[in-house]
Symmetry: C2
Subunit: 225 residues, 2 copies
Protein backbone atom coordinates (compact mmCIF):
# COMPACT_ATOMS: atom_id res chain seq x y z
CA UNK A 1 0.00 0.00 0.00
CA UNK A 2 2.21 2.83 1.28
CA UNK A 3 5.12 1.04 -0.27
CA UNK A 4 4.32 2.87 -3.49
CA UNK A 5 7.04 5.07 -4.87
CA UNK A 6 6.03 8.71 -4.76
CA UNK A 7 6.00 9.22 -8.50
CA UNK A 8 3.88 6.20 -9.25
CA UNK A 9 0.60 8.09 -9.32
CA UNK A 10 2.00 11.16 -11.05
CA UNK A 11 -0.42 11.68 -13.85
CA UNK A 12 0.68 13.06 -17.18
CA UNK A 13 3.44 11.39 -19.18
CA UNK A 14 1.54 8.24 -20.00
CA UNK A 15 3.48 7.85 -23.22
CA UNK A 16 7.20 7.53 -23.34
CA UNK A 17 9.12 10.39 -24.87
CA UNK A 18 10.92 9.28 -28.01
CA UNK A 19 9.17 5.90 -28.38
CA UNK A 20 5.86 4.64 -29.66
CA UNK A 21 5.76 2.03 -26.91
CA UNK A 22 3.36 2.74 -24.03
CA UNK A 23 4.89 3.28 -20.61
CA UNK A 24 5.76 0.36 -18.40
CA UNK A 25 2.90 1.21 -16.05
CA UNK A 26 0.35 1.14 -18.83
CA UNK A 27 1.77 -2.04 -20.30
CA UNK A 28 1.44 -3.76 -16.94
CA UNK A 29 -2.06 -2.42 -16.40
CA UNK A 30 -3.30 -3.48 -19.83
CA UNK A 31 -1.78 -6.92 -19.72
CA UNK A 32 -2.93 -7.53 -16.15
CA UNK A 33 -6.45 -6.50 -17.12
CA UNK A 34 -6.52 -8.89 -20.05
CA UNK A 35 -5.22 -11.81 -18.02
CA UNK A 36 -7.26 -11.08 -14.90
CA UNK A 37 -10.42 -10.94 -17.00
CA UNK A 38 -9.55 -14.20 -18.68
CA UNK A 39 -8.26 -16.31 -15.79
CA UNK A 40 -9.13 -14.56 -12.57
CA UNK A 41 -6.96 -12.72 -10.09
CA UNK A 42 -5.52 -15.59 -8.13
CA UNK A 43 -4.94 -17.74 -11.16
CA UNK A 44 -2.85 -15.03 -12.82
CA UNK A 45 0.72 -14.72 -11.58
CA UNK A 46 2.90 -11.66 -11.72
CA UNK A 47 5.41 -13.65 -13.70
CA UNK A 48 2.78 -14.34 -16.35
CA UNK A 49 1.80 -10.68 -16.50
CA UNK A 50 5.30 -9.26 -16.68
CA UNK A 51 6.37 -11.83 -19.23
CA UNK A 52 3.50 -11.09 -21.59
CA UNK A 53 3.85 -7.35 -21.02
CA UNK A 54 7.57 -7.67 -21.74
CA UNK A 55 8.62 -5.85 -18.58
CA UNK A 56 10.70 -6.89 -15.64
CA UNK A 57 9.10 -8.89 -12.85
CA UNK A 58 10.09 -6.40 -10.17
CA UNK A 59 8.48 -3.47 -11.96
CA UNK A 60 5.02 -4.42 -10.72
CA UNK A 61 6.10 -3.96 -7.15
CA UNK A 62 8.04 -0.87 -8.07
CA UNK A 63 5.13 0.86 -9.79
CA UNK A 64 2.16 -0.49 -7.85
CA UNK A 65 3.59 -1.72 -4.58
CA UNK A 66 1.92 -5.13 -4.51
CA UNK A 67 -0.28 -7.48 -6.46
CA UNK A 68 -3.32 -6.40 -4.42
CA UNK A 69 -2.70 -2.80 -5.38
CA UNK A 70 -2.36 -3.79 -9.03
CA UNK A 71 -5.69 -5.60 -8.90
CA UNK A 72 -7.29 -2.54 -7.36
CA UNK A 73 -5.79 -0.27 -10.02
CA UNK A 74 -7.12 -2.49 -12.79
CA UNK A 75 -10.63 -2.58 -11.34
CA UNK A 76 -10.63 1.11 -10.46
CA UNK A 77 -10.01 2.09 -14.06
CA UNK A 78 -13.42 0.64 -14.91
CA UNK A 79 -15.24 1.54 -11.72
CA UNK A 80 -14.37 5.20 -12.13
CA UNK A 81 -16.17 5.23 -15.46
CA UNK A 82 -19.02 2.88 -14.69
CA UNK A 83 -20.21 4.14 -11.33
CA UNK A 84 -20.69 7.83 -12.21
CA UNK A 85 -22.50 6.77 -15.39
CA UNK A 86 -24.79 4.47 -13.43
CA UNK A 87 -25.35 7.21 -10.89
CA UNK A 88 -26.59 9.53 -13.61
CA UNK A 89 -28.92 6.91 -15.09
CA UNK A 90 -30.39 6.17 -11.66
CA UNK A 91 -30.99 9.86 -11.04
CA UNK A 92 -32.99 9.91 -14.25
CA UNK A 93 -35.37 7.38 -12.69
CA UNK A 94 -36.08 9.44 -9.59
CA UNK A 95 -38.88 11.37 -11.28
CA UNK A 96 -40.45 8.32 -12.90
CA UNK A 97 -44.06 8.01 -11.80
CA UNK A 98 -44.63 4.28 -12.27
CA UNK A 99 -41.22 2.74 -11.80
CA UNK A 100 -40.70 -0.91 -12.81
CA UNK A 101 -37.96 -3.36 -11.89
CA UNK A 102 -37.09 -3.76 -15.54
CA UNK A 103 -36.51 -0.04 -15.86
CA UNK A 104 -34.09 -0.13 -12.96
CA UNK A 105 -32.05 -2.97 -14.38
CA UNK A 106 -32.12 -1.53 -17.85
CA UNK A 107 -30.50 1.58 -16.40
CA UNK A 108 -27.38 -0.57 -16.24
CA UNK A 109 -27.20 -1.07 -19.96
CA UNK A 110 -25.80 2.27 -21.10
CA UNK A 111 -23.18 2.52 -18.34
CA UNK A 112 -22.12 -1.04 -19.10
CA UNK A 113 -21.83 -0.52 -22.83
CA UNK A 114 -20.03 2.78 -22.34
CA UNK A 115 -17.12 0.75 -20.98
CA UNK A 116 -16.36 -0.27 -24.52
CA UNK A 117 -14.79 3.18 -24.71
CA UNK A 118 -12.04 2.02 -22.37
CA UNK A 119 -11.38 -1.10 -24.34
CA UNK A 120 -12.91 -2.78 -27.37
CA UNK A 121 -14.42 -5.46 -25.15
CA UNK A 122 -14.63 -3.33 -22.03
CA UNK A 123 -18.11 -4.42 -20.99
CA UNK A 124 -17.18 -8.04 -21.01
CA UNK A 125 -13.92 -7.45 -19.21
CA UNK A 126 -15.46 -5.34 -16.49
CA UNK A 127 -18.18 -7.87 -15.76
CA UNK A 128 -15.72 -10.70 -15.61
CA UNK A 129 -13.43 -8.74 -13.32
CA UNK A 130 -16.42 -8.08 -11.10
CA UNK A 131 -17.33 -11.72 -11.19
CA UNK A 132 -13.91 -12.83 -10.08
CA UNK A 133 -13.80 -10.11 -7.46
CA UNK A 134 -16.82 -11.68 -5.85
CA UNK A 135 -16.26 -15.37 -6.45
CA UNK A 136 -12.70 -15.20 -5.26
CA UNK A 137 -12.96 -13.39 -1.97
CA UNK A 138 -11.15 -10.17 -2.72
CA UNK A 139 -12.25 -8.41 0.44
CA UNK A 140 -10.20 -5.31 -0.26
CA UNK A 141 -12.10 -4.79 -3.52
CA UNK A 142 -15.46 -5.00 -1.79
CA UNK A 143 -14.30 -2.49 0.77
CA UNK A 144 -13.03 -0.14 -1.91
CA UNK A 145 -16.26 -0.32 -3.90
CA UNK A 146 -18.40 0.14 -0.83
CA UNK A 147 -16.49 3.15 0.42
CA UNK A 148 -16.03 4.82 -2.97
CA UNK A 149 -19.46 4.18 -4.45
CA UNK A 150 -21.66 3.14 -1.53
CA UNK A 151 -24.07 5.98 -2.16
CA UNK A 152 -24.82 4.77 -5.69
CA UNK A 153 -25.59 1.29 -4.40
CA UNK A 154 -27.86 2.75 -1.74
CA UNK A 155 -29.70 4.65 -4.43
CA UNK A 156 -30.13 1.46 -6.42
CA UNK A 157 -31.62 -0.33 -3.44
CA UNK A 158 -34.04 2.52 -2.80
CA UNK A 159 -35.25 2.46 -6.40
CA UNK A 160 -35.81 -1.28 -6.31
CA UNK A 161 -37.86 -0.87 -3.16
CA UNK A 162 -39.90 1.82 -4.85
CA UNK A 163 -40.54 -0.48 -7.82
CA UNK A 164 -41.49 -3.33 -5.49
CA UNK A 165 -43.14 -1.82 -2.44
CA UNK A 166 -44.80 -5.12 -1.56
CA UNK A 167 -41.44 -6.86 -0.97
CA UNK A 168 -40.18 -6.91 2.59
CA UNK A 169 -36.65 -5.79 3.38
CA UNK A 170 -35.66 -9.37 3.94
CA UNK A 171 -37.07 -10.64 0.67
CA UNK A 172 -35.36 -7.81 -1.15
CA UNK A 173 -32.11 -8.66 0.59
CA UNK A 174 -32.13 -12.24 -0.56
CA UNK A 175 -33.34 -11.58 -4.06
CA UNK A 176 -30.76 -8.89 -4.64
CA UNK A 177 -28.05 -11.33 -3.71
CA UNK A 178 -29.50 -13.95 -6.01
CA UNK A 179 -29.47 -11.32 -8.74
CA UNK A 180 -25.85 -10.68 -8.03
CA UNK A 181 -25.12 -14.38 -8.11
CA UNK A 182 -26.78 -14.96 -11.46
CA UNK A 183 -24.97 -11.95 -12.90
CA UNK A 184 -21.55 -12.83 -11.57
CA UNK A 185 -21.84 -16.43 -12.57
CA UNK A 186 -23.03 -15.58 -16.05
CA UNK A 187 -19.89 -13.57 -16.55
CA UNK A 188 -17.36 -15.85 -14.96
CA UNK A 189 -18.69 -18.83 -16.87
CA UNK A 190 -19.59 -16.45 -19.66
CA UNK A 191 -16.97 -17.20 -22.24
CA UNK A 192 -17.45 -20.94 -21.93
CA UNK A 193 -21.23 -20.56 -22.08
CA UNK A 194 -21.09 -18.28 -25.11
CA UNK A 195 -19.04 -20.85 -26.95
CA UNK A 196 -21.41 -23.65 -26.04
CA UNK A 197 -24.36 -21.53 -27.12
CA UNK A 198 -22.67 -20.66 -30.39
CA UNK A 199 -22.15 -24.32 -31.22
CA UNK A 200 -25.59 -25.33 -30.02
CA UNK A 201 -27.71 -22.72 -31.74
CA UNK A 202 -25.62 -22.08 -34.84
CA UNK A 203 -25.47 -18.31 -34.67
CA UNK A 204 -23.33 -15.60 -33.17
CA UNK A 205 -23.73 -14.86 -29.48
CA UNK A 206 -22.22 -11.78 -27.94
CA UNK A 207 -22.11 -10.19 -24.56
CA UNK A 208 -25.02 -7.89 -25.35
CA UNK A 209 -27.30 -10.84 -26.00
CA UNK A 210 -26.30 -12.42 -22.71
CA UNK A 211 -27.04 -9.22 -20.84
CA UNK A 212 -30.44 -8.90 -22.49
CA UNK A 213 -31.33 -12.45 -21.44
CA UNK A 214 -29.96 -11.84 -17.97
CA UNK A 215 -31.89 -8.65 -17.36
CA UNK A 216 -35.19 -10.30 -18.26
CA UNK A 217 -34.36 -13.20 -15.98
CA UNK A 218 -33.37 -11.24 -12.92
CA UNK A 219 -36.28 -8.85 -13.31
CA UNK A 220 -38.60 -11.87 -13.37
CA UNK A 221 -37.03 -13.36 -10.28
CA UNK A 222 -37.01 -10.15 -8.37
CA UNK A 223 -40.60 -9.21 -9.13
CA UNK A 224 -42.07 -12.59 -8.23
CA UNK A 225 -44.91 -11.95 -5.78
Amino acid sequence: MSNLKSHASDAPSSVRASSNKPSTQKRILDTAERLFAREGFEQTSLRQITQEADVNLASVNYHFGSKKALIQAVVARYMDVFMPALDEELRGLDDESALTTLQVFEAFKLPLFSLNGIHKRGTERFLRLLGFAYSETQGHLRRYTQSAFGNVLQHLLALLHRANPELSDEEMFWRLHFVLGATVFAQVSGQALIEIARAEFNHEVNIKTVIEHLIVFIAGGLERP
Copy 2:
Protein backbone atom coordinates in the same frame (compact mmCIF):
# COMPACT_ATOMS: atom_id res chain seq x y z
CA MET B 1 -5.51 -41.29 -10.89
CA SER B 2 -4.20 -44.79 -11.51
CA ASN B 3 -1.61 -44.08 -8.85
CA LEU B 4 -4.13 -45.37 -6.34
CA LYS B 5 -3.05 -48.35 -4.33
CA SER B 6 -5.12 -51.38 -5.19
CA HIS B 7 -6.74 -51.71 -1.79
CA ALA B 8 -7.79 -48.10 -1.54
CA SER B 9 -11.28 -48.73 -2.84
CA ASP B 10 -11.76 -52.01 -1.01
CA ALA B 11 -15.05 -51.55 0.63
CA PRO B 12 -15.80 -53.03 4.02
CA SER B 13 -13.55 -52.39 7.01
CA SER B 14 -14.43 -48.73 7.47
CA VAL B 15 -13.78 -48.98 11.20
CA ARG B 16 -10.48 -50.01 12.64
CA ALA B 17 -10.42 -53.31 14.49
CA SER B 18 -9.64 -52.85 18.17
CA SER B 19 -10.03 -49.08 18.27
CA ASN B 20 -12.88 -46.59 18.46
CA LYS B 21 -11.03 -44.29 16.07
CA PRO B 22 -12.30 -44.22 12.49
CA SER B 23 -9.93 -45.40 9.79
CA THR B 24 -7.37 -43.05 8.32
CA GLN B 25 -9.28 -42.92 5.05
CA LYS B 26 -12.49 -41.87 6.75
CA ARG B 27 -10.72 -39.32 8.92
CA ILE B 28 -9.21 -37.74 5.85
CA LEU B 29 -12.51 -37.78 3.98
CA ASP B 30 -14.46 -36.23 6.84
CA THR B 31 -11.95 -33.53 7.59
CA ALA B 32 -11.44 -32.70 3.93
CA GLU B 33 -15.20 -32.38 3.50
CA ARG B 34 -15.50 -30.02 6.42
CA LEU B 35 -12.65 -27.81 5.25
CA PHE B 36 -13.54 -27.91 1.56
CA ALA B 37 -17.10 -26.84 2.38
CA ARG B 38 -15.84 -24.02 4.55
CA GLU B 39 -12.96 -22.62 2.52
CA GLY B 40 -13.16 -24.11 -0.95
CA PHE B 41 -10.99 -26.68 -2.66
CA GLU B 42 -8.07 -24.56 -3.72
CA GLN B 43 -7.92 -22.64 -0.47
CA THR B 44 -7.62 -25.84 1.55
CA SER B 45 -4.17 -27.42 1.63
CA LEU B 46 -3.36 -31.05 2.24
CA ARG B 47 -1.24 -30.00 5.19
CA GLN B 48 -4.25 -28.32 6.77
CA ILE B 49 -6.40 -31.40 6.21
CA THR B 50 -3.91 -33.94 7.49
CA GLN B 51 -3.03 -31.82 10.49
CA GLU B 52 -6.65 -31.42 11.59
CA ALA B 53 -7.39 -35.07 10.83
CA ASP B 54 -4.31 -36.05 12.83
CA VAL B 55 -2.87 -38.24 10.10
CA ASN B 56 0.38 -38.11 8.19
CA LEU B 57 0.67 -35.78 5.21
CA ALA B 58 1.65 -38.55 2.83
CA SER B 59 -1.39 -40.67 3.66
CA VAL B 60 -3.61 -38.62 1.38
CA ASN B 61 -1.53 -39.54 -1.62
CA TYR B 62 -1.24 -43.09 -0.37
CA HIS B 63 -4.96 -43.64 0.05
CA PHE B 64 -6.38 -41.40 -2.65
CA GLY B 65 -3.54 -40.85 -5.10
CA SER B 66 -3.82 -37.09 -5.44
CA LYS B 67 -5.64 -34.03 -4.18
CA LYS B 68 -7.90 -34.06 -7.22
CA ALA B 69 -8.93 -37.62 -6.46
CA LEU B 70 -9.63 -36.68 -2.85
CA ILE B 71 -11.86 -33.82 -3.97
CA GLN B 72 -13.73 -36.19 -6.23
CA ALA B 73 -14.16 -38.74 -3.45
CA VAL B 74 -15.58 -36.07 -1.13
CA VAL B 75 -18.06 -34.84 -3.72
CA ALA B 76 -19.00 -38.32 -4.87
CA ARG B 77 -20.12 -39.30 -1.37
CA TYR B 78 -22.88 -36.71 -1.66
CA MET B 79 -23.61 -37.07 -5.35
CA ASP B 80 -24.24 -40.78 -4.96
CA VAL B 81 -27.02 -40.03 -2.50
CA PHE B 82 -28.41 -36.88 -4.03
CA MET B 83 -28.66 -37.82 -7.69
CA PRO B 84 -30.65 -41.05 -7.34
CA ALA B 85 -33.01 -39.27 -4.92
CA LEU B 86 -33.51 -36.44 -7.39
CA ASP B 87 -34.01 -38.95 -10.16
CA GLU B 88 -36.84 -40.54 -8.26
CA GLU B 89 -38.52 -37.22 -7.52
CA LEU B 90 -38.30 -36.21 -11.16
CA ARG B 91 -39.87 -39.48 -12.24
CA GLY B 92 -42.77 -38.66 -9.97
CA LEU B 93 -43.42 -35.57 -12.09
CA ASP B 94 -43.61 -37.43 -15.37
CA ASP B 95 -47.31 -38.16 -14.93
CA GLU B 96 -48.22 -34.68 -13.76
CA SER B 97 -50.84 -33.22 -16.06
CA ALA B 98 -50.24 -29.47 -15.55
CA LEU B 99 -46.59 -29.25 -14.64
CA THR B 100 -45.26 -25.95 -13.24
CA THR B 101 -41.71 -24.66 -12.93
CA LEU B 102 -42.14 -24.35 -9.20
CA GLN B 103 -43.02 -28.03 -8.96
CA VAL B 104 -39.84 -28.96 -10.78
CA PHE B 105 -37.62 -26.91 -8.50
CA GLU B 106 -39.43 -28.07 -5.42
CA ALA B 107 -38.56 -31.60 -6.41
CA PHE B 108 -35.06 -30.68 -5.29
CA LYS B 109 -36.08 -30.07 -1.71
CA LEU B 110 -36.42 -33.63 -0.42
CA PRO B 111 -33.24 -34.92 -2.08
CA LEU B 112 -31.38 -31.92 -0.70
CA PHE B 113 -32.66 -32.33 2.81
CA SER B 114 -32.04 -36.07 2.71
CA LEU B 115 -28.33 -35.24 2.66
CA ASN B 116 -28.62 -34.39 6.32
CA GLY B 117 -28.49 -38.15 6.76
CA ILE B 118 -24.85 -38.12 5.66
CA HIS B 119 -23.95 -35.33 8.00
CA LYS B 120 -25.83 -33.09 10.41
CA ARG B 121 -25.41 -30.17 8.03
CA GLY B 122 -25.18 -32.24 4.89
CA THR B 123 -27.45 -30.07 2.77
CA GLU B 124 -25.40 -26.99 3.43
CA ARG B 125 -22.13 -28.77 2.87
CA PHE B 126 -23.19 -30.33 -0.39
CA LEU B 127 -24.42 -27.05 -1.83
CA ARG B 128 -21.28 -25.27 -0.84
CA LEU B 129 -19.13 -28.02 -2.31
CA LEU B 130 -21.13 -27.71 -5.52
CA GLY B 131 -20.71 -23.97 -5.45
CA PHE B 132 -16.96 -24.17 -5.15
CA ALA B 133 -16.83 -26.89 -7.78
CA TYR B 134 -18.33 -24.44 -10.24
CA SER B 135 -16.83 -21.15 -9.16
CA GLU B 136 -13.36 -22.57 -8.98
CA THR B 137 -12.98 -24.33 -12.28
CA GLN B 138 -12.79 -27.94 -11.24
CA GLY B 139 -13.23 -29.33 -14.73
CA HIS B 140 -12.75 -32.90 -13.64
CA LEU B 141 -15.74 -32.62 -11.32
CA ARG B 142 -17.96 -31.34 -14.11
CA ARG B 143 -16.89 -34.21 -16.30
CA TYR B 144 -17.53 -36.72 -13.56
CA THR B 145 -21.02 -35.37 -12.84
CA GLN B 146 -21.91 -35.21 -16.49
CA SER B 147 -20.81 -38.76 -17.21
CA ALA B 148 -22.20 -40.30 -14.03
CA PHE B 149 -25.52 -38.48 -13.83
CA GLY B 150 -26.02 -36.89 -17.23
CA ASN B 151 -29.29 -38.71 -17.73
CA VAL B 152 -30.82 -37.15 -14.63
CA LEU B 153 -29.87 -33.68 -15.80
CA GLN B 154 -31.35 -34.41 -19.22
CA HIS B 155 -34.57 -35.43 -17.51
CA LEU B 156 -34.59 -32.18 -15.56
CA LEU B 157 -34.20 -30.16 -18.73
CA ALA B 158 -37.03 -32.04 -20.41
CA LEU B 159 -39.37 -31.36 -17.50
CA LEU B 160 -38.54 -27.66 -17.50
CA HIS B 161 -39.30 -27.53 -21.19
CA ARG B 162 -42.63 -29.24 -20.56
CA ALA B 163 -43.46 -26.70 -17.86
CA ASN B 164 -42.46 -23.84 -20.16
CA PRO B 165 -43.29 -24.87 -23.71
CA GLU B 166 -43.27 -21.26 -24.88
CA LEU B 167 -39.55 -20.85 -24.10
CA SER B 168 -37.11 -21.47 -26.91
CA ASP B 169 -34.17 -23.80 -26.46
CA GLU B 170 -31.87 -20.84 -26.35
CA GLU B 171 -33.85 -18.95 -23.74
CA MET B 172 -34.01 -22.08 -21.61
CA PHE B 173 -30.28 -22.55 -21.99
CA TRP B 174 -29.48 -19.12 -20.65
CA ARG B 175 -32.03 -19.10 -17.90
CA LEU B 176 -30.94 -22.46 -16.62
CA HIS B 177 -27.40 -21.17 -16.30
CA PHE B 178 -28.61 -18.07 -14.51
CA VAL B 179 -30.49 -20.35 -12.16
CA LEU B 180 -27.32 -22.28 -11.55
CA GLY B 181 -25.45 -19.04 -10.96
CA ALA B 182 -27.89 -17.71 -8.42
CA THR B 183 -27.87 -21.04 -6.62
CA VAL B 184 -24.14 -21.49 -6.55
CA PHE B 185 -23.52 -17.94 -5.47
CA ALA B 186 -26.09 -18.12 -2.73
CA GLN B 187 -24.25 -21.07 -1.27
CA VAL B 188 -20.70 -19.89 -1.65
CA SER B 189 -21.53 -16.53 -0.15
CA GLY B 190 -24.15 -18.27 1.93
CA GLN B 191 -22.57 -18.31 5.34
CA ALA B 192 -21.58 -14.66 5.14
CA LEU B 193 -25.03 -13.70 3.88
CA ILE B 194 -26.79 -15.67 6.58
CA GLU B 195 -24.82 -13.84 9.22
CA ILE B 196 -25.57 -10.45 7.70
CA ALA B 197 -29.25 -11.36 7.46
CA ARG B 198 -29.29 -12.52 11.07
CA ALA B 199 -27.86 -9.24 12.28
CA GLU B 200 -30.03 -7.16 9.98
CA PHE B 201 -33.39 -8.76 10.62
CA ASN B 202 -32.94 -9.89 14.20
CA HIS B 203 -34.07 -13.46 13.81
CA GLU B 204 -32.62 -16.84 13.04
CA VAL B 205 -31.86 -17.66 9.42
CA ASN B 206 -31.03 -21.17 8.32
CA ILE B 207 -30.24 -22.94 5.11
CA LYS B 208 -33.85 -24.03 4.65
CA THR B 209 -35.05 -20.42 4.61
CA VAL B 210 -32.44 -19.50 2.04
CA ILE B 211 -33.50 -22.38 -0.19
CA GLU B 212 -37.14 -21.37 0.08
CA HIS B 213 -36.31 -17.81 -0.96
CA LEU B 214 -34.08 -19.08 -3.73
CA ILE B 215 -36.64 -21.43 -5.23
CA VAL B 216 -39.23 -18.68 -5.47
CA PHE B 217 -36.70 -16.40 -7.09
CA ILE B 218 -35.41 -18.79 -9.72
CA ALA B 219 -38.89 -19.98 -10.59
CA GLY B 220 -39.86 -16.35 -11.14
CA GLY B 221 -36.86 -15.72 -13.34
CA LEU B 222 -37.28 -18.84 -15.35
CA GLU B 223 -40.99 -18.43 -16.01
CA ARG B 224 -40.75 -14.83 -17.14
CA PRO B 225 -42.53 -14.60 -20.50
